[in-house]
């Protein structure tokens, strides 16, 4: 199972839930991916011994001036304004480049080769209770988180993959899309405040666009109002766990402790959370199978329907 833990709003407790869930299923040897590459924090709670490293590079254009005729075709085809040609001289702005390779393909003189440009790094190692841990970090000043997240998910430094817990960044834009894509289930951690509700709604919409099933963990239950509960009920979204608003939990987490270590009574609850997600997925799959067996569905129809 690949499980993405996301939220919409920041600071609702994604990492708190993800790290405790990983510890609760440590016997299954989960792979923990910290995909919040702009502000990665899970290592603080899981203490990995990071001993595998890789840099993430984007292939950016380098122009061989002896062959370049200054025709500016490269600048014309670049959709990201990463190339400017002034007075027959090509200037590349690496932080705007997406590494698509179109300029290289289109240069009539074959004057462009691609060189690696570092935008981030990956690290991996075993964490507490033999949890397999990997994280990505976006270099300071670099704008694009997505290539780091993509590289992290493709990296697989431990061999066998599943189960995977992906700890997502906040928001609902491209980095979160990348972290949700290819997952089996999205667990949304929210709090019962108007901000929490507003952003939960957006995250549910995004998971819907991607065709992924969702469940909710309601954190700091009791701090705000009833509206998240009402929304989940109306929208038919299961609330799989509630963590009460409690000063002591806040202090323990602030001090770098996971919830299940500070309060061991949560261990069976997180174990139960994993089992209920598994059950939900099985039910969903068998309902689908049942339908598919009765009606032949073309694969291409399904794709264009998205």
């Amino acid at each position: 199972m690949i499980l993405t833990i996301a939220s919409g709003k920041g600071g609702t407790g994604k990492t708190t839930v993800a790290t405790s869930l990983a510890l609760a299923i440590a016997d299954l040897s989960p792979l923990y991916l910290d995909c919040d590459v702009e502000a990665p924090n899970a290592h603080i709670f899981l203490n990995p011994e990071l001993n595998q490293f890789q840099t993430v590079n984007l292939p950016i254009p380098a122009v061989d001036e002896s062959r370049c005729e200054g025709c500016a075709r490269c600048a014309e085809v670049c959709q990201y304004h990463a190339i400017v040609v002034i007075g027959g001289k090509v200037l590349v702005f690496p932080e705007l480049c997406h590494g698509c390779g179109s300029c290289t393909l289109q240069c009539p003189e074959g004057a462009i080769e691609e060189i690696p440009y570092k935008t981030g790094s990956l690290e991996a190692g075993l964490a507490k209770n033999e949890i397999r841990f990997a994280r990505g970090t976006l270099d300071i000043g670099q704008p694009m988180a997505v290539p780091i997240i993509r590289a992290l998910q493709d990296w697989n430094p431990f061999g066998e993959l599943e189960p995977v817990i992906r700890d997502a960044p906040p928001g609902v834009s491209c980095p979160v899309v990348e972290t949700m894509s290819g997952a089996d289930f999205v667990l949304l951690v929210t709090e019962p405040t108007p901000f929490g509700l507003h952003d939960l709604h957006l995250a549910v919409q995004l998971a819907g666009e991607l065709g992924l099933p969702v469940g909710v963990v309601l954190n700091r239950d009791g701090i705000g109002d009833q509206r998240v509960d009402d929304y989940c009920q109306t929208a038919g979204i299961p609330i799989l766990m509630r963590i009460p608003f409690d000063d002591q939990i806040g202090r323990a987490v602030a001090g770098g402790k996971t919830l299940v270590e500070a309060f061991p009574e949560y261990l069976p609850r997180f174990r139960g959370l994993y089992i209920s997600i598994n059950d939900l997925l099985h039910e969903r799959k068998s309902r689908r199978q049942h339908y598919e067996e009765s009606v032949p569905i073309s694969k291409s129809d399904e794709m264009s329907g998205r």
Binding site: S7, G8, K9, G10, G11, T12, D36, V37, E38, A39, N41, I44, V77, Q79, Y80, H98, C100, G101, S102, L105, Q106, L138, I140, G141, Q142, P143, M144, A145, P169, P170, G171, V172, S173, C174, P175, V176, V177, S181, E191, T193, P194, F195, H198, D199, L202, A203, Q205, L206, E209, L210, G224, G250, A254, G255, G256, K299, S300, M303, S304, R306
Partner: protein, 300 residues
């Protein structure tokens, strides 16, 4: 006209609650300032939930393009799939199909297609809004889920906010920033006179505060720090203070954890309105005085 951007690295440290409170203090204090507000957290915009926007005008945000294949022209050569580095083109039963979510609009496929079967279609990736609000004009936006170009949308609303501020002769533009350190944050930081970093005294909060301070430093924007929810951890608060002292970064305030802040939010109010004499409100008033002094001081 000065530009103050509120950032944190880590999400949920209280940027928006503080932005709303400061905008109220700016318009209500003795030497009041006229302000314009920009909510730069375009993928999860929340400032509007507190500032009661009215008279909202909406504009489409055209945020980039995605490729489309005209199946009638397609000769099924597969060149497009070969050049796509974003894994956005797949062979399907009846030709090639583009996954609009994976497509980054690079147009590599458009240029290589020998049959001119591919076109690029501009996408409405979101909307931006211009509203009146309790404390000044508010520019906010909604990037549609699964869309790209959040940085471009941040730049868009900041440009419009700035134009309005210049038209009205405003003193200050307050930008409520997004979490993280990447693309939308870089757009939010750009052009700022001062960054207020809202740090949370947790281990994770301290870690992310360092990353955002490195980022503002990278773009040469002067920064000051405030600690929010300071009683969450005395150790964490001390760590933030000593880090800032060593780095020569001014601390402008420490705001206690106050259960009234989420309560105020639930009422759609700022903490200043909800509990004007509470501990958090008093701390915010003190902090505002220091920020004003810094903003006015940077004129000289």
């Amino acid at each position: 006209m000065k530009q103050l951007v509120i950032l944190s690295g880590k999400g949920g440290t209280g940027k928006t609650s503080i932005a709303a409170a400061l905008s109220q203090l700016a318009s209500e204090s003795e030497r009041s300032m006229s302000i314009v507000l920009a909510d730069a957290d375009v993928d999860a915009a929340n400032l509007e939930l507190i500032l009661s926007p009215s008279n909202t005008r909406k504009e489409d945000f055209w945020g980039g393009q995605i490729a489309e294949i005209d199946q009638r022209r397609c000769a099924q050569c597969g060149e497009c799939m070969q050049v796509c580095r974003f894994d956005a083109i797949h062979a399907a039963d009846d030709g090639f199909a583009i996954n609009p979510i994976a497509c980054e609009g690079c147009a590599a496929c458009f240029y290589v297609c020998p049959s001119e079967a591919i076109s690029l279609k501009e996408q409405v990736a979101g909307a931006w809004f211009h509203s009146d609000s309790l404390y000044g004009p508010l520019f906010h936006a909604a990037l549609y889920p699964a869309q790209e170009n959040s940085g471009k949308l941040v730049t868009r609303i900041k440009q419009h906010a700035k134009l309005q501020a210049l038209d009205n002769g405003c003193d200050l533009m307050i930008v409520d920033g997004p979490p993280g350190v990447g693309c939308p944050v870089i757009s939010a930081v750009s052009g700022a006179d001062l960054a207020l970093i809202v740090a949370e005294p947790s281990k994770a909060g301290v870690h992310d505060m360092r990353r955002i301070l490195e980022t503002t430093d990278h773009f040469s924007v002067p920064s000051v720090v405030c600690i929010n929810k300071t009683d969450l951890s005395a150790e964490g608060s001390a760590e933030i203070e000593s880090y800032c002292q060593e780095a020569g970064i001014a601390m402008v305030g420490t705001i206690p954890f106050d259960v009234d802040i989420p309560r105020a939010m639930s009422q759609g109010q700022t903490i200043i309105t909800f509990q004007p004499d509470g501990s958090a409100s008093r701390a915010l008033r003190d902090m505002w005085q220091r920020i004003v002094a810094l903003l006015r001081g940077s004129d000289e």
